[in-house]
């Protein structure tokens, strides 16, 4: 599964890190870092992250 975050939208609130902490994290500067590939077993968590993102900046491909 491919994960894409629209950086122009993302405002680094970090709500996604609650849902899928192995895919999304905030670095020392408080900037979102994420894995572009997520294992299929994490689909529910990543979908949840996309659902709850306040800016609706997370997209999942395939």
């Amino acid at each position: 599964m491919q994960v894409y975050v629209d950086r122009a939208k993302c405002d680094n609130h970090g709500q996604c890190t609650f849902s899928a902490p192995t895919i999304f994290r905030l670095d020392e500067q408080g900037v979102l870092q994420y894995e572009e590939h997520a294992d299929e077993s994490l689909r529910n968590d990543v979908e949840e992250a996309a659902d709850v993102c306040p800016l609706q900046a997370i997209f999942i491909k395939d």
């Binding site: 680094n12 970090g14 408080g30």
Partner: protein, 397 residues
């Protein structure tokens, strides 16, 4: 580091202090932060955007009861365990369990019901051509939206409104004197919440409370008391804020009737109309944080324990971020911080955004040429603000 930068000072507990003032605007053009009698205030957009989410700052309201001489009891226990003041893993855990139920896909089924409610309320006064906007629209709308969301019978809205505003006394500096009535109200609200939970456990449906009852993340669930605390926080945190924000929205468009007409002709701009109100006229005029550790940020030194206020209205009208800061519902804008930011970013923002969008759309399609029609009354223009009374007259469209 230059030492000659003059840092402005703002006395934010002066009863005459106002966000919409020359003094505050001057302070913002002078420097990115000001000293206040509580600590610091961050004034410019760029810095609010960065520091609001900084992990070296925590929510900071947790010690409120202690600061006011309240160290135990029903209110103390609720307050010190509720989402808003939890930090770190405790906060992550509860927030994760609550978040999905408030996502757009779960809120959407409620929207037609919100629209019916807005229409019912405004149709009741349409032929009169005048009404008291807070009492006749904003308050019943905000409260009944929460009743709809939580599945509380809408006829009970006056009780819910009364309980929430009684608990609101806890925000005042007379907390200790008011503690008895606050705790009675909280106890009564607990009763509602416990009944709701028991009912949905026995009769699960397709509603928000059922989703919370069934919330499950990797086997972790909310306990009954966590559910109860959360429901009370939703009522408390979602009602006055929405009522006040709707009041401020009406005031904004009373002063920008051309934008109101634009909205009436283009209902798809209603969401932008809400965002523009929250950017230029937010009810939460500041968001409070407290430094967890000593730290430096450019020329600002913050000691652990210092209060930092993020001024949302002031940063939302910062000409550096918004070259034409006046309300323009057709403009592309950077996000505002009227819903806070970071880990504590408002849980209910999708609900609030959706219900206010519907309200502005419905109102703009029915009313035109609004004007103030008698004495209005306001909360102070700082902290959490808004109109208490807003009599308006209008022409039926």
């Amino acid at each position: 580091m230059p030492t000659d930068i003059a840092v402005p000072y703002l006395d934010i507990s002066d009863p005459a202090f106002a966000m919409h003032s020359e003094a505050v605007r001057n302070a913002r053009s002078q420097h990115w932060y000001a000293k206040t009698n509580y600590g610091f205030a961050i004034l410019r957009y760029e810095y609010v955007s960065k520091l609001l989410k900084d992990p070296r700052l925590s929510q900071g309201s947790g010690k409120w009861p202690d600061h006011n001489g309240v160290h135990s009891g029903l209110f103390y226990d609720w307050w010190t365990k509720c989402l808003l003041v939890l930090e770190g893993d405790d906060h992550h855990r509860i927030r994760r369990l609550l978040n999905p139920a408030f996502s757009p896909r779960h809120i959407e089924p409620y929207l037609p019901r919100f629209e019916e409610l807005a229409i019912e309320l405004i149709d009741g006064v349409l032929d009169k051509g005048e009404f008291e906007y807070v009492n006749d629209f904003a308050e019943p709308y905000a409260t009944r939206v929460l009743c709809i969301l939580l599945g509380i019978p809408e006829t009970e809205w006056p009780t819910i409104a009364r309980l929430a505003s009684t608990i609101g006394l806890a925000l005042g500096v007379t907390l200790k004197q008011d503690l008895g009535v606050v705790e009675d109200a909280l106890q009564e609200l607990y009763g509602y919440a416990e009944n709701l939970i028991a009912d949905r456990q026995a009769n699960p449906g397709d509603d928000l409370v059922t989703k919370l009852v069934q919330a499950n993340a990797d086997g972790d669930t909310l306990s009954d008391s966590e559910l109860r605390n959360a429901l009370c926080l939703l009522i408390f945190g979602g009602m006055d804020t929405t009522r006040n924000q709707l009041g401020l929205g009406m005031m904004s468009y009373l002063h920008n009737l051309d934008q109101w007409e634009l909205l009436a002709k283009n209902p798809e701009l209603a969401r932008a109309a809400v965002e523009e109100v929250m950017r230029t006229n937010p009810t939460t005029t500041w968001v409070t944080r407290e430094a967890v550790v000593d730290f430096d940020y450019e020329d600002l030194h913050v000691d652990a324990g210092t209060t930092v206020h993020f001024f949302t209205q002031v940063s939302g009208t910062d000409p550096e971020a918004y070259p034409n800061p006046e309300i323009d519902i057709t403009a592309e804008r950077a996000p505002h911080y009227g819903f806070g930011g970071g880990m504590h970013h408002c849980l209910g923002h999708f609900v609030a955004r959706a219900d206010m969008t519907i309200a502005l759309k419905v109102l703009s399609q029915r009313m035109t040429n609004m004007r103030i029609n008698g004495a209005d009354e306001w909360l102070p223009d700082s902290g959490n603000t808004g109109p208490v009374k807003l009599p308006i007259a209008f022409d039926k469209r």
